[in-house]
Amino acid sequence: MTETFAYLDEDSKRAVRRTILKALAVPGYQVPFIAPEMPIAYGWGVGGMVVTASLLGADDRLKVTDHGSDETVNAVNIRAFFTRTAGIGTTTRTREATIVQVRQRVPEAELVERQVVVYQVPRPDPLRAFVDSAVEAARMHAHADYGRVYTRLFEEKTGSHGAVQPGYDYPVLVQGRYLMSPSPVPKRDNVRLNDCPAIQIFGAARERRLYALPPYTRVESIAFEDVPFDPGLPEDGRRCVVCGCGESHLDHLLLRDDGMSEWVCSDTECCAERADA
């Protein structure tokens, strides 16, 4: 059995590309799609890989990160898969990449118009936090019936039980129309989705859904008119132990014997650039 370029057969790729076009035409709408089975487990980025496989051409340069890092085992594994099956060039520099596949972070580096960012998505429908039925969720999306989402937000601010939206995968409203999961990126990354020059595509293989943001799409984190969105920036003065940056998203590294925490930049590319400068 010979594998085709980027593993997927051309028919499957074409079907995925058609889905992508539809998704770009209706920003934020979850288009049902067939995710061909990949030799990587569901939950490990298959949705992103299917999108990447269907977009890759021989001239593309691919960057893959997991939690902002090019070097985590998962990122390395996905990159190696495409190097093996498509023989394409890879890079760790965002500005050199034509396709950037990411998990759980929006790239911190500047994105430009010719680029595509591919997100791996575990739970594509933010409404599933409110309703168990896919039929009901689809009805709510169809009619932009999002009152319950704002009720939850209201509850967060008024309830004595402190029901809260998590600090990641915080729902956004696309072009004022569709409620969308930004994938489990930290809340603060939501602002980077807005008005982005690159195409952004979100693939959820296990859930068979794909959605997209064309360049310069308006993306707002859900919030009340009179209470602005809180990106949840830390206020403890934490800084990266490598580059000293206090503004980028920092991962907890370790707890020292003296009880103090050490933090490190999640985006390794930007961290290294700052450290070298």
Partner: protein, 330 residues
């Protein structure tokens, strides 16, 4: 200076080598052949073919060897392989009344046409370890004569009707409402343990109807394909399968009736066929289709559960900070 989780490539390469070593085990013990697995690990092979949705004993055996006997992993391997195969079309509906049975029983009828055939079942073995199998050459028991002469005259065990073309669930996204062939497809590929557990919870649920095995048959059946270009239907060979028809009483005044359920699996796999039939019946009696069909797939479920091993720094950190903030508010 600390460099977070570098050197992934080398680590992965080493991990693969370690896996190969673990697979081989003690090199002093002869390596398993795929033929041995195919012939002597039939239960596992049949299960991998069923959930892997590919009828190929050799490839299923190879997958099992590669997966060190891990059925879920082997199923995954077979599925990934299957995804690369070209789809040629679909067969005609199997005529289960023409099955050549190795086994045929009913829990509702004492007299079955052709008689009840126990065949190769563990049901009546005493589950004691058979230490004679520790030795090398277990004796090969001869079959009683006459079994081959049984008339293949069985009541027609049909699946669902009413669809001209079956839905290929690998090509159509799961979306309610779910048609009969879609339901069947998801259940056949469904993980055996999940379906068994579901059937079991259903049996223990107050108010749920108790289903009966009306017809359980295992044997060979012919697969035919219609060649539309030349207007012929030709046989492309025989496959072994297990099929179960189930009925459950639905008591509802003048509308009382028996509600059917159907289960099927490649090869000899009764637990799957019976569990699937029970779940199919339950679905017809109001069990939530979405709950079952969206969660039955072992490859999807296994993948998503195993993804919990992946780094979750950002979301975990966010949760931690939320907890700290809420706890501090108190």
């Amino acid at each position: 200076m600390y460099v977070p989780v570098k050197g992934g490539e080398a680590a992965i390469a080493e991990s693969r080598k370690a896996l190969a070593r673990a697979r081989r085990g003690d090199p002093a013990v002869p390596e398993l052949t795929v033929a041995q697995i195919r012939e002597q690990m039939r239960g596992a092979v049949d299960r991998v073919m069923t959930e892997g949705a590919l009828y190929d004993r050799d490839l299923a055996a190879l997958a099992l060897k590669q997966a060190q006997g891990d059925v879920a992993e082997a199923t995954f391997l077979l599925r990934a392989h299957r995804a690369m195969l070209r789809r040629m079309g679909h067969s005609e509906p199997l005529d289960l009344s023409a099955i050549r049975p190795d086994r045929h029983i009913s829990a509702t009828a004492k007299e079955l046409p052709g008689g009840q055939i126990l065949g190769a079942t563990c049901d009546y073995t005493h589950r004691l370890l058979d230490f004679s199998l520790m030795g090398k050459a277990a004796p090969f028991p001869e079959a009683a004569s006459g079994l081959d002469d049984m008339p293949p005259d069985f009541p027609r065990a049909k699946g669902e009707e009413g669809e001209d073309e079956p839905v290929d669930i690998t090509r159509v996204p799961l979306r309610p409402p779910y048609g009969p062939s879609e339901t069947l497809g998801h259940l056949v590929r469904g993980e055996e343990g999940f379906l068994t557990g579901l059937a079991y919870t259903r049996l223990r649920t107050a108010g749920a109807a108790h289903p009966y095995v009306e017809d359980l048959v295992a044997g060979e059946v012919e697969v035919s394909v219609a060649l539309e270009d030349i207007g012929l239907t030709v046989s492309i060979g025989d496959i072994e399968l297990t099929a179960c028809r189930m009925v459950a009483p639905v008591l509802d005044g003048p509308r009382s009736h028996l509600s059917p359920g159907f289960g099927v699996a490649f090869g000899c796999n009764e637990r799957k066929a019976v569990a699937m039939a029970a779940v199919d019946q339950a679905l017809k009696s109001g069990l939530d289709s979405e709950l079952v069909l969206a969660h039955a797939d072992g490859v999807e479920a296994g993948g998503y559960v195993s993804h919990l091993k992946l780094p979750h720094y950002s979301d975990f950190q966010a949760d931690l900070e939320t907890i700290r903030r809420l706890a501090a508010d108190d």
